[in-house]
């Protein structure tokens, strides 16, 4: 019943070490690393638009990070965030276009959210069921379900829902749209940041409560730590596996609110752009702790958008290297600790 299951030192060290590596790599490309970093910070944290972009990416990453972190506590590795997010996003877009315009936003937004959560949740729950009933390793099943989700959304988009001669669905009704932070408070002008960030923060809080304060979380962590002991204590571990995978899928799916309802207002191929996979990195950096997911997501959001912002000077790939290095260092340091 404690929140103290996190070591502060390792992630900080990993981020610092990866940062130093990037300095070397940038220097090797013939650029001045300090100039690049200065531009990066100018374009992100020091600009309203840039900060909004970072926040927008952070929002999605919090959801997909949680989608990996929660199952991780039950020793389950959810690689399926991407597929769960794709299905959620398509479901949200379709629901948003189908809802009559007369629907008030207070009804339309929750319905869209439920559709997205249901789509992602079923996809996540499916790998839970495959694991419990048939003993299929969840890593394999989530990867396979990613392929199916990719293909299915592709087919549904091009052959069923896309506006003719385009690559996207029709725009959703006004009532299902979520206001941007720009519209509401006049901050982060012109950026896609929207009020979904509040839902993301609430989800992180709820996930922390669920894991460390609820009875379900007490049982869930026991299943992850010592499955046999959990069995002896009468804990139905199968039920927990299916539940947590469904919750994870729903969390990844509901990130669609950020992408569809809050920003694009339609679904297009490539909309999810690997956020599901970056979620794995976020969860690992955060040590699968729901509250630490937030700063970890912020870090990755910063690097992802920052990489784009300085793309004119150095290849964006350098920042992908930093992300990967950070995670590798975290894993190595954790292994060293033992």
């Amino acid at each position: 019943m404690t929140f103290r299951s996190f070591r502060f030192f390792i992630p900080v060290l990993a981020v610092t070490a990866a940062g130093l590596c990037s300095v070397v790599i940038i220097a090797l490309t013939g650029r001045d690393p300090f100039m690049i970093y200065e531009k990066l910070f100018r374009a992100t944290l020091l600009s309203g638009y840039g900060s909004g972009q970072v926040l927008f990416k952070t929002t999605t990453l919090i959801f997909t990070g949680l989608a990996v972190a929660l199952p991780f506590r039950a020793k389950l590795f959810n690689i399926g965030g991407e597929g769960q997010l794709q299905l959620g996003a398509l479901a949200a877009a379709i629901t948003g276009t189908l809802l009559p315009l007369s629907f008030p936003p207070a009804a339309a937004v929750p319905i869209t959210a439920i559709a997205a959560m249901a789509a992602g949740g079923i996809w996540g729950g499916a790998s839970g069921i495959l694991k419990v009933k048939f003993g299929v390793n969840e890593v394999i099943s989530t990867i396979m379900l990613n392929f199916i989700a990719q293909a299915a959304t592709g087919y549904l988009l091009t052959c069923r829902f896309a506006v003719p001669s385009t690559e996207h669905t029709p725009e959703i009704g006004n009532s299902s749209m979520l206001p941007g932070l720009d519209d509401l408070f006049g901050i982060f002008t012109g950026s896609p940041a929207n009020i979904t960030i509040l839902l993301a923060l609430a989800s992180a809080l709820y996930a922390a409560w669920y894991l460390f304060r609820s009875r379900a979380g007490y049982e869930l962590r026991a299943v992850g730590l010592q499955p046999e002991a959990a069995d002896y204590a009468g804990i139905r571990s199968g039920r927990h596996v299916i539940t947590v995978m469904s919750i994870a899928g729903a969390l990844a799916g509901v990130a669609a609110l950020n992408l569809v309802s809050g920003y694009k207002h339609y679904y297009e191929s490539g909309l999810t752009g690997g956020f599901g996979f970056s979620g794995i990195a976020v969860a690992l950096l955060a040590g699968a702790h729901p509250l630490w997911i937030v700063p970890a997501a912020l870090f990755f959001g910063l690097i992802e958008y920052g990489g784009l912002a300085v793309g004119a000077y150095v290849p964006r790939d350098i920042f992908m290297i930093i992300q990967a290095l950070t995670i590798l260092i975290v894993i190595v340091l954790n292994a060293q600790k033992r």
Partner: protein, 513 residues
Amino acid sequence: MEPAVRLTGITKKFGSAKANRNVSLSIMQGTIHAIVGENGAGKSTLAKLIYGMYRPDCGTMEINGKTVAFASSRDAIAAGIGMVHQHFMLVPTLTVAENVILGLEKKRLFSPLALKNSGDIIRELSRQYDFTVDPDALVSALSVGEEQRVEIIKVLYRDAGILILDEPTAVLTPQETDTLFAVLRSLCRAGKTILIITHKLDEVLAVADTVSVMKQGEITGTHPCRTTTKEELARMMVGRSILLRVENPVPSPGKTMLSVENLGYRADDGRYKLQKLNFSIRAGEIFGIAGVEGNGQSELLSLLWGVSRKSGAVSGKIMIDGTDITGKNPAEIAALGVSLVPEDRLKHAVITAYSVTENMLFGRHRETLFHNRSGFNRKTVNDFARKLGETYDVRCRDLDNQPLASLSGGNQQKVVVARELERPGLKLLILAQPTRGVDIGAIEMIHRSIIGARDKGAAILLISSELDELIALSTRIGCIYKGSIRRIFTETELSEGREKEHSFEQEIGLNIT
């Protein structure tokens, strides 16, 4: 006679904790020297220092009069020291001879092994010391006692003059123990020096010449076995007088709480692990099950507790207070008022990373008393843990924040026993090896709580490999052999047996092998 091993002022620190403090000890050549002490007293550390697995922080060590400083156990072996570990280190798929020469091949890759030659040496050794080992047998086909003899042969094969045995009787039946002692005596006669690490005082007095008591890293006394008694040793180990045998007032059994009828369990390979197993336990009595490990005890336990066995076929039935528990899961069985203290505490009874408080709740977290909406009522839970901790004398710094893993084995077991014994409406208590790896002081406390639970009217099933524990606590004892109860000793037989313990143990021994 000169000392084979002489330690002077040996100190070994782990971090800030001193596992051995200023230990000085002389072990005479050709004698059997025992070191006794509670868990954590530093016995094993001392053995590992002599065997070169640890290096002392200060102090000197002399072997046969020469000062030595071992860098690793390789040096110790070269100096003629051998160790038989508590957990055997044999490869089951190799033969005895192959296991014995493992690590000594001294051959180039792909050149043939001198197996025949080593087989002859093994036969010669076993003839010389008067015990039988077949060098061509597969280790997987050997009994535990035979495996131990292979370990001893392994040491002798390396020309050891000094043998260290760590808890050698922990896994043996009474008969196998007697055989081991005979072997040790014949080794001793041949001039070998033997150091035994143990906590079983009876055995020390039966086999050793000299005994040293360790407490909190120090040697508190060395005595010849002829002039000391079990009670005196126990007092030196714990630092206070303790009851070696708890009082066992006359039981007053009530109605039948557990009945096991014609229970059978066939594993997937077609072998019966349990067959026509019958017994029943009444409220207020302790039914002990004696047996060598692997005769169906684990299978019986998992069937009683409803732990899903993914394979195999079960027949017969188990009734708990009139309810058939076939097909019920552990949560449903526990809800009937059943508690289990499982054999393997760390694996099955606790979550080692959870705090002590969280573990006090583990398996009982469904009781609505502890709930607060969908979370826990922290105050109730913490108070409950504090009360249990005090009643059962669980020693730790901070119940609510200290992980269970940081407690000593005895204290961990007290947590489990406290939790299970205090289950509301307890009707049946199943105990498997309740005092394994627990120090003497804690054993006394656990035994008293068990008798207390019995007097409050619980039916108790006690499975233990310690015969003296069974004899001390049980109302009746069933002997399990190859999955059936072969003989049940009645209450009268038990009270007679307690008077002449050694022969009674032998009699039980005959029924379990």
